[in-house]
Symmetry: C2
Subunit: 452 residues, 2 copies
Amino acid sequence: MNREQLLSTLRAALASRDSTVIPAVAKASHPADVASVLAEFEPDEVRTLLRELPAPERAELFGYLEAETEVEVAHYFDRKELAELFLHMSPDDRADLFNRLTEERREMILPALAQAEREDIRRLALFPEGTAGAVMTSDYATVRPDFTAPEAVEHLRKVAPDTETIYQSYVVDENRRLIGTVSLRDLIVAPPHTRVSDFMQREPIFVRADAPREEAARLISRYDLIALPVVNGDEKLVGIVTYDDAMDVAEDEATTDFRKVGAVGELAIGLKEAPIDLLYRKRVFWLVALVFGNLFSGAGIAYFEETISAYVALVFFLPLLIGSGGNAGSQSATLMVRALATGDVVLKDWAGMLSRELTVAALLGATMALAVSTIGIVRGGPDIALVVALSMLVVVIVGSVLGMSLPFILSRLRLDPAASSAPLVATIADAAGVLIYFAIATAVLGLPALTN
Amino acid sequence: MNREQLLSTLRAALASRDSTVIPAVAKASHPADVASVLAEFEPDEVRTLLRELPAPERAELFGYLEAETEVEVAHYFDRKELAELFLHMSPDDRADLFNRLTEERREMILPALAQAEREDIRRLALFPEGTAGAVMTSDYATVRPDFTAPEAVEHLRKVAPDTETIYQSYVVDENRRLIGTVSLRDLIVAPPHTRVSDFMQREPIFVRADAPREEAARLISRYDLIALPVVNGDEKLVGIVTYDDAMDVAEDEATTDFRKVGAVGELAIGLKEAPIDLLYRKRVFWLVALVFGNLFSGAGIAYFEETISAYVALVFFLPLLIGSGGNAGSQSATLMVRALATGDVVLKDWAGMLSRELTVAALLGATMALAVSTIGIVRGGPDIALVVALSMLVVVIVGSVLGMSLPFILSRLRLDPAASSAPLVATIADAAGVLIYFAIATAVLGLPALTN
């Protein structure tokens, strides 16, 4: 069934109160597809549809809903329904949902849960959002080092229903310290008499629970892992992050960086679902903040008012010059923000990158100066052409170096380099451009600068 | 060993020509780490180091090198070394490397390969870069539908050394048409007497070999797959894309979009490795292209020269007004480019997104108009304040709608929405801003527009 068919089938089922439709639909379609269609319904309608499903399917489908939708729908569940849902959800999804519920709902649900789940939720809910601990799951498989390969496989067969993945399992000592990992592939391929300790991967790659979740995603991507073990401060194994969660984290982080580079604030929600007032608040901050930068450009212009009155033709080139500096700066900044985010460039590369940037910027500036000087001759004569060409060269170099350096500086100050957005760099480059342009003009054309 | 230790150990090994070091290092460290350190050496040094490794380890390490480094190092290999390398590389890495070799090197290597590999390379090399076919591997496992679960596991055990993953295997009919998939987890959990056809996933999710590689990555992420089957035009199974390759594709695509949004061209290489002349060429195109947009702004200013001469104070607000329109437009464009890339927003959402954008932009514009009108009163009196406030409102709305619409229009024309970069949107918004500002000024202040 395609999306349109799914949608109309579910609408019909709701209208006719036919309780047999959704179980059939859930059997025939992938939960990701059903969940994406459910986003079109009202929360109470989603609840009506979901209650017709067997509990495990309901929980699986629930895990594919958008975070916002999850909370809205959960609001319509009574205590018994919510407890049943929690019982069947994977631990990480469950802890996430729990964290997003209102205080009141949390208090309501806790007594309805079994001791083990309650503790599991409390433990996972401890880790602040954005950490590896907050995206990990506690449903992982451990095997003993003295298991033979077939014993380990048999053990995994038994625990499979309760684990997120059986493709990687973990070997811990008596203190739950992680001493090795073993893949199901290795277990299957190993000769029957060999023991886990004979071929397990010692000194495995792991992440600390309080590390940023991007770090977990980066390790998984770098080492092509299926799952990454997570340890606490005592180096005890507390969970794993699976590759599919790492993909979601990487996508989220890229989206966040995109929005920052576009001078929109952080927005932990899809663009289509974001309420208008949230979008307004996130965007107005930077727009107003940048006003001050632009006022600076205006002040620069006011300072050189006499030069401008004498040579109004100079104003013709103003958008071009400050625009080009801003554009070159935006280029450098976005290149650098992404390179820092992917680890392609690190802090200590600064000096090397700066000298490269200077070379590239000088070449770019010279090209632009050449292009613009011909227009300068046509519109204002050789003097204006000289002013415009010189300004272009300097403005492009300054803009580029600024755009390249700002992400580094922010990173050095332990701030997010992505905050050096294209509009921020462009605004600073604009102000610098105004000063450079009119200063050069005043010098070359021999005019007094100060007007008041 | 950390990075610094690895680096100095390998440098020492090169200097002392000690051939025992690199095999020991390769045993103790992850190939991703060794490869990242090798990037610091010259290609001929890398070759010297690599030749001391056993062929399978050498090929594995090679697969972790950056594409550029791979080609440079391969250039130093003689025919025998290259053939041995090709024999041990995974089919997708091998085809990629083959595609990047010079014509001459390709001709040299082909006769040295076995028939099967030659055909495999030719087949994989057929798919244009950027398609699912170009990132897939042909090392996948198939199982017969009449296998019992233990028979299938036993079969996978045998083929494991030659397959990229055994966690997903594929069921094909006599024409090699894909009829189902089965996970190793299901095989392990299934009762021993059941057959693959009893529990295989029918109507599996797949991708066409000529589909864009992003689509493969998106399907893997959406459905949490370990591997995605790839079929040709006849619906025959030709390969699989694994989750780790999908992660690399998603990261690459995000980087590409970043660079486009920053008005840098496509750059299939890390920022640090990119040669200066490549960076220059990629950046100069957009910088020069945007000159024309800025000339348009300049022409707008020239057109209103008389207004400007009469009210030089208007120039003070010029950077602020056009800057704010450009900033609002950059925000909208980056939000939309990313939303289209992740599939959060699709083409048919246009009307809905437009009306939301109008609301948000009107609110933003009104806020900015209010803020700027107070400055207008101080610097130019109530008339100027009115002009500036009105212009701000219109400029922010026009910039936002422009920034939001451009990615949609490009997408509709089957062009890349990411080409609507922040600088492009800002430049168009600038030109529109100049016209709006001075048109409103001329109207409100009652001046003649035309000067020549």
